[in-house]
Symmetry: C2
Subunit: 208 residues, 2 copies
Amino acid sequence: VKLYDVSMTIHQGIAVYKNNEGKRPILEITRDFGEGGARESKLTIELHTGTHIDAPLHFVPGGHTVDKYDPAQFIRPCRVLDLTDAETKITRSHLVRKDIAEGDFVLLKTLNSLDNPDQFNPEFVFLAFDGAGYLIERKVSGVGIDALGIERSQPGHETHKSLLGAGIPIIEGLRLADVPEGEYMMSALPLKIRGAEASPARVVLWKP
Amino acid sequence: VKLYDVSMTIHQGIAVYKNNEGKRPILEITRDFGEGGARESKLTIELHTGTHIDAPLHFVPGGHTVDKYDPAQFIRPCRVLDLTDAETKITRSHLVRKDIAEGDFVLLKTLNSLDNPDQFNPEFVFLAFDGAGYLIERKVSGVGIDALGIERSQPGHETHKSLLGAGIPIIEGLRLADVPEGEYMMSALPLKIRGAEASPARVVLWKP
């Protein structure tokens, strides 16, 4: 079976949101071969780094945390939608052509997948509020996108709030350049971090 | 499909190896609703915390790192072996009865799965060097165990060194109490952390 690894590599030079240096992951070696005969290290990571899952608590006060998702929500079929025709944002009009059915877990492939994964693009293509509204209407079971954020330039954060408020999980930071539009199986499990509003995840797709 | 979530929950009170306080994960809130309208946090985690994957570099100088594993090694069939008859360690004699075939990814279920996941048990059941040798002979494709370490009380760390030296991935920190012996599908993907000798992982099993 051919797997598509659609995850970003976590390292200090990875693109971080708005180039905020405080968001860079740090890998620190805490034990090494000279001393105790083994390599051990510690990672400090902002939970929205690289490929990651958002839980409702990210934008909904009192919303549930990432450890409360049913893991079955993240090992399942998904649909990659080619939206490379969207230049700045994905709106309802881009999505209505895609024949989205109830229960689909949709991964939005945009021009972002061509960006350098180590360089933050402040002009990334995002999911507009009306596009999110359409996905909620269609009762999708999840949404992924190839940007570090599913929205920008919307002061009320309406895309995040409407999706997470409707209990729809969001995957951010996908890399979809090599994945043709179509149906796949997906594994995108978040870590089980108690109390956290998000988790980094390794995401892979394959043809069943 | 019924999933078995065989992962430990990551939190500050989780059992850590030898009760080393420096190994406790720390979740720090870096932004909250009062300020910017969203919850964001940062996790500091020793890479051998909870359920995790070891790469060769953990015990083999110059060995490859966790990001170099082919993800296909971690989405695949596996076999849960009931070894609850082993009182202190799993030896060749426990394993020869299990009809292990070339390519099997074996998960060793022991009495450890009954331990409190928030309390380190210094007497945990481990895989003895001769047991590891038998698994290498059988050419298994991976080994998992329900302990934070796959060995203890072996001064040369021969179980780790022989398995990782043979390129066999190790999963530690599984929770298998609820999983009957048998064949399952498994997703156990490590995060893609550049240069790291290990990674936390969410591990789930299901019946195909």
